[in-house]
């Protein structure tokens, strides 16, 4: 007889109100996807893994913010080129 165990994993739900996800939420998603730290791992390994995960989260947050800022700058430039100066200013203030 062959026995097989089939299982489903737990999903993570992330929501936002009045707009898209924040930099923090996206950074958390990335860190969670990249690194899973088992709660029953030996403590020194768990602590090291969690410290690494925090570093990944921090770096992800920084670069997500940078990417969004740069994209907004590109959009502003295109909108300004099209003569929509007020709209460009509004996007720049985001």
């Amino acid at each position: 007889m062959f026995e097989s165990i089939s299982t489903i994993g737990a999903v993570n739900i992330i929501t936002s109100d009045e707009g898209g996800l924040s930099n923090d939420q996206i950074a958390d998603m990335l860190a969670n996807k990249l690194l899973y730290v088992s709660s029953d791992a030996p403590e020194p390994i768990r602590l090291q893994a969690e410290a690494f995960k925090d570093r990944v989260r921090y770096l992800a947050q920084y670069y997500i913010e940078l990417a969004r800022k740069e994209e907004r700058a590109s959009i502003c430039a295109k909108v300004r080129e099209a003569g929509q100066l007020e709209l460009a200013k509004a996007i720049g203030r985001l």
Binding site: I8, G9, V11, N12, I14, D17, E18, G20, Y36
Partner: protein, 150 residues
């Protein structure tokens, strides 16, 4: 509990009859969102669990933003082996500019008669208001992947 996380029993049987193909060029799978209590589009409560055999509109959340009734199409990651465990995965799924309250979800085979695959229980109501509702799938490894056969 009206929504209970489970791999549907009918799905396990259908695996043995080759009903579901998770290869990237295989069947199309969808994820539909469900509410408990009065959150459903017809004020009905979803009852989902191991005995669910196919997609149902009972208790499904209403269309909002990019969420349309019937749910969103999942982007498959080809099945692979992690050690002695077979796993498959999906890309995260987001619905934007959506006002949604959901307690769980059903993954089903949109190609083959809407046959049920798995019920996901969010354990509490998750709400987006004119915002983004994202379902992030777990890390695709032998301990966490969304669908695992050991």
């Amino acid at each position: 509990m009206a929504i209970a996380q489970a791999m549907c029993t009918s799905f396990k049987t259908e695996l043995l009859t080759g009903t579901h193909n998770f290869a990237t060029n295989g069947n199309a799978f969808k994820l539909a969102l469900y509410a408990e209590g009065s959150g459903g589009k017809s004020n009905t409560t979803a009852t989902l669990g191991a005995t669910t055999t196919a997609f149902t509109t009972t208790g499904e959340v209403a269309s909002s933003g990019t969420y349309a009734t019937g749910g969103g199409t999942l982007t498959k990651v080809a099945p692979s082996a992690a050690g002695t465990t077979a796993i498959t995965d999906f890309a995260d799924l987001s619905f934007t500019t959506a006002t949604i309250t959901a307690m769980g979800a059903l993954i089903y085979n949109d190609t083959n008669g809407d046959k049920a695959v798995a019920v996901l229980d969010f354990t509490s109501n998750k709400t987006s208001t004119s915002g983004t509702f994202t379902i992030q799938f777990p890390t695709a490894d032998a301990s966490n992947a969304i669908i695992r056969i050991a």
